[in-house]
Symmetry: C2
């Protein structure tokens, strides 16, 4: 469109490639960025460059890190006899926010999904197998969707005899949840896994 200045159009195109930013939002943001404070625009531009260039995989667990090891693997106080297996680095953030977990992690980098063509070799199961020495418990904290369940049961069968305890995060009605709006499968799981008071 000739009536939009080229640099703005170019920026809108790039912004539109980001998830959850549609063409209209992208154009609105591009116009906003075009006239924003020069210093702020420079900071934003550099922040994008830095975030992309400085982030690497933790050499131990696969979490995102700004150094050779991530903040968990750098921390001597963490209990290395418990490994919590997750799909994505953001899952670690969700668990860390609880301040209830003191073990270490292993990031698979995805879930097994035949539909998407992702097999066991496409996620980092091998890395997990190499870390099992001296580990007492592996907590399988992949998502509770079909792919996450498949991944958890695949890994369970693989490591069951190599580790003392292999656990899976509990299914149930979320805290603050409403039974009326909870799906049947979740209710069945919540009943199965009921605990005595």
């Amino acid at each position: 469109m000739e009536y939009i200045p080229k640099p703005i159009e170019a920026l809108a195109l790039e912004l539109g490639r980001l998830p959850s930013i549609g063409p209209k939002s992208a154009m609105r943001l591009a116009y906003y960025i075009a006239v924003m404070d020069k210093e702020a625009a420079k900071t934003l531009s550099e922040a994008i460059y830095n975030a992309n260039m400085k982030i690497r995989k933790c050499s131990v667990c696969g979490n995102m890190a700004d150094d050779e090891k991530c903040f968990v693997c750098r921390d001597d106080r963490r209990d290395r006899s418990v490994i919590c297996v997750v799909s994505k680095p953001k899952d670690i953030v969700a668990i860390e926010k609880t301040h209830e977990y003191n073990g270490v992690y292993h990031v698979l980098g995805g879930s097994i999904s035949p539909v998407m063509g992702i097999g066991p070799d496409d996620i980092d199961i091998k890395g997990l197998l190499k870390r099992l020495d001296g580990v007492d418990e592996v907590i399988l904290a992949t998502n509770t969707d079909v792919e996450g369940e498949a991944t958890a049961s695949y890994i369970f069968r693989l490591i069951n005899k190599k580790v003392k305890t292999v656990t899976r995060i509990a299914h149930g009605v979320p805290v603050g949840g409403n039974l009326e709006y909870t799906d049947e499968v979740t209710i069945i799981k919540a009943l199965e896994n009921r605990t005595s008071l």
Copy 2:
């Protein structure tokens, strides 16, 4: 939060300053950008820098331009005897998309809004007054909200005797609009401005 790598946290902070991007979206985007293709991240970073640095105000009308004059003021085929007054550069894009207008524009850079502390001197009315020689018609195309109406009537009183014709864009029910869901003031305007068939 120590469990989010610093470069990602820094980027999320900057993204969160943009309009319509909340803290959660900002964090999701930051994680996405952190692991996206290096070349794509560089392109995005540069697009932001370029859009901000290369864009300036058209020296004639105040539209956004990537040169001294904007694409309208550069175009010899545009009718310079008609000036359409708008609040923001994006309003020009909206009008240009219709392909129905062949005059030139004047961008005020805002609307008069006592509530926000924006007076007549804070928007570019002076620039408009300087451009009235040889102009047959000024179309007041500020928004149809309170501020836009106030701005239009202020300018009308100021230039009424200096220009042959001063017009205001029509109020009415939008095309495809539903009377049931149209507010009363719009319906009153639509009735007042009814045209014979």
